[in-house]
């Protein structure tokens, strides 16, 4: 038997996710909706021999979609063919905003779905002087009403026991305004199998994803014939419902407001203050970056040492040879190079998650909107831009709650300029090589350079946004309206789940790429055509007087240069020579196209393959490397700065490209972004090297 699907539907900030966590007891996974990467949270719960699939739909105020998130909700609830079409809808509400939740409930029922109603945060109701007459509400909604407190778990078991509820037919429903009736009757001809309200929903939306192009065209001509604007239809429904519910709720709910200042209001006086608000926000940003760099350090050192000694141990146990090299220098070093970022990513997402849970994030949107608007962005772009400092992938996904298509697109296009944690290992290694470890005016020069790279990332994101804002045309006027929820203590379970999902997702995705790249590199570097196999013969002829050890070194480097990997590197060398790189760095650039962090482990593999000595650190190997073409160290000041700039701008991340393609649903914008970033990277690296060399 198919598991029944239970869909949780509700406004934002009603505690829906906490309830989801309580119901599923964390038996859940985060996947993607097919075709787009809106996060899909799904879990299971067993009760009396039945396994229920629980789907946590994104929060929304209405079934008329304003953003990608909200489109998911409508499609899941109105398309009977949709894989997530529920057997029961659980509408989650909270007493303070009962009216808005009833709008959603009615819409779901009128689409023909069975639904039950949950009053969550029941503990807060008393505090705020709200009382609800439950039996009256049940008869008004024609369904069962459950009271829960998702934080303590109160009422959750009783709710689960009623997941097999079936609700009878629903009476009443929206009285559609007379002026739209002629158009509606014409639309009904198109959908003989749908009920009136579903047809109305189709008529009042510009683009219902699952309808055929032909049907959409016909709907459009009905609207054109009757001179109808979809916003007009939607507003009419909204007015009629709110008006009616206001009247109906008079005997059901009573507010006993204390007019005196509440807690939220008092906190907002400081956090939204025109001066202190900004001081506190920037103070918090400073604290976050302090935490990422200072607090994470001991943990990172520990991980670094652990992987270092693991590699050393493997080296002593296994016989010397290229395969051991692959394992120690490629795979172990590569995975270690990723795991080392867990503390930083976890700390960043801990802060972001706390800001969202407490309600502070929407205050940041309020404070920052005015400053991001001139760049063609939106206050809501703050979240993707901040998350971009950890990893662009979740950051780009978080842009989906920006309603305006243009602002969302620009946010997605510029987020990868932010300095993500994958750039850090490259920055740290290169800065360590080419910037002196000295103090300038009391500041450590290496630290200042690293800080400068972060500023550069932010400025280029804003600059690119400004440029794109001039180029991209917008169909709709941009607008911003959002609710500032009351302040709450964070639900630690939600925070923990969020941090865990984000960090483990990053490690697994990046780990797979590193593993694959290490193996490919090793194979390409250990085999080659013609000359590769006659290396010893050729080298012996060239250096007849060399000692055995020297000969071995020469053979090794000759083999590397003539391996498939070497041929790849030497082929692109002419293109990267003006940037100050040799063919070995070229291999690093090619392989790190998959993911930036691969650069350091690639260089380790490349130098280890062409080397017989056991240099202990990657940095040590890099320091003694000589660029054959210039005769100077491969990593000198000019080529180092050139590399830093290259990695600051270049779109070196396949996962980001894939996510941008999915989220924008456009190859055009994905290619423009990649071209723009990598072109800028080449140009900046070229100018820097030519000026500095």
């Amino acid at each position: 038997m198919k598991s029944p699907i239970i869909a949780l539907l509700g406004n934002p900030n009603v505690g829906k996710t906490s309830l989801f966590n309580k119901i599923t007891k964390l038996h859940q996974k985060v996947g993607n909706y097919p075709g787009i990467t809106v996060e899909k949270r799904e879990g299971t719960v067993h009760f009396k021999d039945t396994t229920y699939r629980i789907i946590d739909l994104p929060g929304t105020y209405t079934l008329f979609p304003n953003s990608m998130d909200e489109e998911i909700v409508f499609n899941a609830l109105s398309n009977k063919q949709d894989a997530n079409y529920p057997d029961l809808v659980v509408v989650v509400s909270e007493p303070m905003h009962l009216k808005r939740s009833i709008v959603l409930y009615q819409q779901a029922r009128e689409l023909g779905l069975p639904a039950i109603f949950v009053l969550n945060m029941i503990d807060e109701a008393k505090e705020k002087g709200v009382s609800v007459d439950i039996p009256k509400l049940e008869s008004y909604l024609q369904t069962r009403v459950f009271q829960t407190n998702a934080r303590s778990g109160q009422g959750v078991n009783e709710l689960i026991q009623h997941f097999s509820t079936t609700t009878g037919s629903y009476f009443g429903g929206l009285k559609i305004d007379e002026q739209f009736q002629p158009a509606l009757s014409e639309a009904k001809q198109l959908f003989p199998l749908e009920n009136e309200y579903t047809t109305w929903q189709f008529l009042a939306q510009a683009n219902v994803a699952f309808l055929s192009e032909d049907t959409k065209q016909k709907l459009q001509s009905i609207r054109a014939k009757h001179n109808l604007e979809i916003a007009h239809l939607q507003k009419s429904e909204s007015l009629i419902r709110h008006h009616q519910i206001d009247k109906d709720l008079i005997d059901i709910i009573s507010y006993n407001h204390q007019t005196q200042e509440n807690k939220t209001s008092a906190i907002d006086k400081i956090l939204l203050h025109p001066i202190w608000g900004y001081v506190i926000f920037f103070g918090l940003l400073f604290l976050i970056f302090q935490a990422i760099f200072a607090w994470a350090e001991p943990l990172m050192d520990f991980i670094d040492e652990t992987f270092g000694s693991l590699g050393a141990y493997v080296q002593t146990v296994l016989p010397e040879g290229p395969l051991t090299g692959l394992l120690t220098d490629g795979i172990i070093a590569g995975i270690g190079g990723i795991v080392i970022f867990i503390p930083q990513i976890a700390i960043l997402f801990l802060f972001i998650s706390l800001m969202e849970e407490t309600g502070y994030m929407s205050r940041v949107v309020f404070l920052m909107d005015r400053w991001l608007r001139p760049f063609g962005l939106n206050g809501k772009s703050v979240i993707p831009l901040m998350s971009g400092a950890a990893c662009s992938i979740p950051a780009i996904m978080s842009a989906r709650n920006i309603e305006n298509a243009k602002e969302r697109l620009i946010t997605i296009l510029v987020t990868p300029f932010m300095t993500c944690s994958a750039r850090l290992p490259i920055y740290i290694v290169i800065i360590g090589l080419v910037i002196p470890d000295q103090k300038l005016m009391g500041f450590n020069m290496q630290g200042m350079t690293l800080f400068g790279m972060y500023i550069l990332g932010l400025l280029s994101a804003l600059g690119a946004a400004w440029l794109l804002g001039k180029v991209i045309k917008s169909k709709h006027k941009t607008f911003l309206i959002f609710e500032l929820p009351t302040y709450k203590l964070p639900d630690w379970k939600n925070v923990a789940v969020n941090v865990w999902e984000k960090s483990s997702g990053f490690i697994i995705d990046a780990g797979k790429i590193i593993l694959a790249m290490s193996i490919i590199l090793w194979v390409l570097g250990s085999f080659g055509p013609g000359k590769f196999n006659r290396a010893e013969e050729i080298v012996q002829q060239e250096y007849p007087n060399a000692s055995a050890e020297e000969l071995e070194n020469h053979v090794k480097s000759y083999q590397l240069e003539n391996s498939y990997l070497g041929i790849l590197g030497t082929t692109i060398e002419p293109a990267i020579e003006p940037l100050g790189y040799d063919w070995k760095i070229g291999i690093g650039l090619i392989s790190s196209f998959a993911a930036r962090e691969v650069f350091v482990s690639t260089m380790a593999t490349v130098y280890a393959l062409g080397d017989t000595e056991d240099e202990t650190t990657i940095q040590g190997q890099m320091r003694k490397e000589i660029n054959k073409n210039t005769g100077k160290p491969a990593y000198n000041f000019a080529s180092g700065i050139s590399l830093l700039l290259f990695y600051a701008f270049a779109m070196q991340c396949m996962s980001t490209i894939a996510i941008v393609r999915k989220e924008t649903n456009s190859w055009k914008w994905t290619l423009i972004q990649t071209g723009m970033m990598t072109g800028l990277a080449y140009l900046a690296a070229f100018i820097a090297y030519q000026l500095l060399k």
Binding site: M96, V103, S362, L367, D369, R370, E403, K477
Partner: protein
């Protein structure tokens, strides 16, 4: 004495009632979030340098933020 005005002209702390919208381009989302004609509101915060405004909907004590560029189409009565 009643006095009609647009929402963006109100000062912090002022109370008013929403009368109507003077542009049909305002998205339906404004209605859905609770910004309907007839409701009483109070200006709680105004972000500096022409930034967004934060409005309290008195009936259910919720806080809504919006930009001045849209607020100027919302006609209110003090």
């Amino acid at each position: 004495m009643h006095h009609n005005n647009s929402l963006d002209k109100l000062k912090k702390g002022e109370r008013a009632k929403i009368i109507s919208y003077s542009s049909s381009e305002i998205p339906a989302k404004f209605f859905e979030i609770g910004f309907l004609p007839g409701i009483d509101i109070e200006i709680k915060h105004i972000a500096p340098f022409n930034g967004p405004i934060c409005v309290n909907i008195v009936q259910n004590n919720s806080l809504i933020a919006l930009r001045k560029s849209e607020a100027k189409y919302i006609i209110v009565e003090k």
